[in-house]
Symmetry: C2
Subunit: 190 residues, 2 copies
Amino acid sequence: MTTTPRRNERSRRAILDAALQLLSETGYPDLTIEAIAARAGVGKQTIYRWWRGKGAVILEALTDTAAEPAALPDTGDLRADLRTVIRATVAEFADPKLSATTRAITIETLSDEALAEQVRDQLLRPQLDSVKDRLRAGQAAGQARPGLDLDLTVELLFGPLYHRWLLRNGPLTEAYADDLVDLAMSAIAP
Amino acid sequence: MTTTPRRNERSRRAILDAALQLLSETGYPDLTIEAIAARAGVGKQTIYRWWRGKGAVILEALTDTAAEPAALPDTGDLRADLRTVIRATVAEFADPKLSATTRAITIETLSDEALAEQVRDQLLRPQLDSVKDRLRAGQAAGQARPGLDLDLTVELLFGPLYHRWLLRNGPLTEAYADDLVDLAMSAIAP
DNA sequence: TGAACGAGACGCTACGTCTCGTCTCGAAAG
DNA sequence: CTTTCGAGACGAGACGTAGCGTCTCGTTCA
């Protein structure tokens, strides 16, 4: 029933590459479909045929490039493992280049509910779930309180981080990451 | 030395009112300077003379209308007082109308550093500081650990909330507010 | 052979700047 | 205290520009 679309993979890649390239050159607000089409050597219609707008293009470019879920390490020390992941996330947010991309997606997310859902499910959930799994293992090992609401606990770890990044409310350093983990751990530990 | 600008207060109010009106009618992304000017019965130049763009207009419209800092209640029960403020914030984020406005400002904030600073200092800081003050009083009353980093602690309370709202990561209910306060309190209490 | 393709024309909307002629205010002059 | 007058803000809207999303064109390719 579904007619297989004869899509040109070369064009698709050229578009995604051009989009990422332009994103890092001009920043998200000044990124235009016309520029992407020109850079990719592609007709505008080819973009509009397959994507709904620049947000969708960027999202696919990122998910396409993104690393796999990357399960959390489990060294047996819950605090240390959380420190590792929170430090990594802090570093990501502190990096101007990566941060710019995250801002881009976040902007689009704020005004497009469908896109927000995609971002959440395809990019964020896998990471948050892996932390949730690690917390569950921590509970089994007696390093985390048994009664914890794990969704809420994950938010307790990442929420302050997003908050500080979003509001530019303070420095994003390794020390901050460690302090955050320590404070959260005093709510997590039995 | 500074020549006092002879600004027309009537126009200023008309512009701010029109902006808020249109914001609630059409939503932020479709809000245009031209529409604001037309609705306010004002030349476009009058807007561009005094503001840098629609973000700045909306920000002033909001700060102008906003309630005063509103110091937190101090009933002597830290947990109860935090519950009150977090419940109120959750309700604000859950309200589609208020939430739309917050999203609007947040979008602008993400792509305009100067505006972000203004929002942070004029809208957010006062509220966060009042919570910080309440926490300090809680320390004095022996309801909060003495060694707490209060900036971090405030983020521990509000961060998860912003996180869930931003990512549309779950329901924003009174029960959620209470659970959040309880979890955070187990990191705050001695 | 038919759908996707590169190219780009098209009308549209909003941008931000500009130029009108008018109005308003505050200081100087009477 | 009143009149005059000049500078600057004002409403209105024309202007060129940019990017939007849609729409043909031939052309290519599976």
